[in-house]
């Protein structure tokens, strides 16, 4: 029959297949991009075809969709949401604001590069990305998962010091609770 390595390989394939086709997105609209999600989910573009579904709480979710600009105040909440999610978890940066600040490049209160604060697996550019672009971003994420390359959570765990340093630099009054994650 199989040895251990082969067996775990087969289990991994099954796991990745299931993970890939069942992406639950936490319903947390951060910026203006959240308005693109209702058409993505409903009958016009129907993301449920790919197993993409909204989930009500971060505990049940797999994907954190950062829809647009993040003010420092929101970033605090996003970090808490992200850390409450259970592994494996993925982050999709949505819109130019998450990539380089977009039209808020000179704002006094929005961060400009999301991947300094949270490990981003896939970026979708555009201002705003259309639902087609959103779905293509999800499909890219599915590819990464099936290849085993969507390792954002692992990166976050390994480089936690670096991420924390960046987060603390922006969030001046660090009053974050201790989690049991």
């Amino acid at each position: 029959m199989f040895n251990d390595k082969e067996a775990s390989k087969i289990v991994d394939i099954i796991k990745n297949f299931a993970r890939k086709h069942s992406l639950w997105v936490v319903a947390y609209g951060t910026g203006c991009g959240a308005i693109e999600l209702p058409p993505t989910m409903t009958s016009r573009y129907d993301a449920e075809r790919f197993g993409i579904r909204g989930s009500a709480t971060p505990r049940q979710a797999d994907v954190l969709l950062i829809t647009g600009y993040l003010s420092v105040k929101t970033l605090k909440r996003v970090i808490r949401t992200y850390e409450q999610m259970q592994e494996p978890k993925y982050v999709i940066g949505f819109g130019s604001c998450t990539i380089n600040g977009g039209m808020y490049w000179d704002s006094y209160n929005t961060i400009k590069a999301l991947d300094r604060y949270l490990p981003v697996d896939v970026y979708i550019n555009g201002c705003m990305p259309r639902p087609e672009a959103v779905i293509s971003g999800f499909i890219k994420l599915q590819q990464l998962i099936s290849e085993g390359k969507a390792d954002g959570a692992k990166r976050y765990r390994e480089n936690l010091e670096w991420y924390r340093e960046n987060q603390r630099k922006v969030i001046k009054n660090w009053r974050m609770p201790e989690y049991n994650w």
Partner: protein
């Protein structure tokens, strides 16, 4: 421009009434249903009270602030709307930038409290009588209020937030496109090119 064909009866009557009561007010009819009233700062509370109670301007539509750093002054702008007359009265006053303090109008309109909190946070103007001027939208802000014009936003963003360096070949989109496709940049577009602006 004022369209003289329109019936400006309500506007003219309002202007007359304000003029008779507040002699020092500078009144300007900007266009139909827009009246700008410039007042001394100590006349603002009586004027608002008068407008609300006698001229039926019941609605405080907006309350905002402008930073005139050249004159070393803040301008407070009150927008009042009357449902009966369908007129917006814009009451403006200037206060000194050095002593940024004004009286609250929350006894006239409850919603003014929230506007005052916002202006306090964004411009650092203190409203005496308003006891809710605590932290509102900005969390943990320890710099000078961000909407003041002496606050250098770009420098602040550069200092605090990491700026991703742009791609070298994408500094000017037009040039990249012309290089790739071999097209020429048209002359009218050249003068707006990023290289020329520098």
């Amino acid at each position: 421009m004022i369209n003289m064909n329109k019936n400006l009866y309500n506007e003219n009557q309002t202007i007359e009434e304000i003029k008779n009561t507040f002699h020092t007010a500078e009144i300007k009819l900007q266009r139909e249903s827009r009246i700008i009233v410039k007042l001394r700062s100590d006349l603002i509370p009586p004027f608002l009270s008068y407008a609300k109670n006698y001229l039926a301007f019941n609605h405080l539509a907006h309350f905002s602030c402008v930073d005139w750093i050249e004159d070393n002054e803040f301008e407070l702008v009150y927008l009042l709307y009357s449902y009966e007359k369908n007129i917006v009265v814009i009451a403006k006053t200037r206060i000194s930038r050095d002593k940024a303090e004004f009286v609250t109008i929350k006894h006239l309109w409850r919603q003014a409290e929230t506007y005052e909190r916002e202006i306090h946070e964004m411009f650092g103007i203190n409203f005496t009588g308003n006891d809710r001027l605590n932290e509102f939208i900005l969390e943990d802000w320890d710099d000078i209020p961000p909407m003041r014009r002496d606050f250098n936003t770009i420098q602040f963003a550069k200092d605090n937030f990491y700026t991703r360096p742009g791609r070298e070949d994408a500094q000017d989109v037009r040039e990249t496109i012309t290089k790739k496709s071999g097209e020429k940049i048209p002359d009218f577009a050249k003068e707006f090119s990023v290289r020329n602006l520098k």
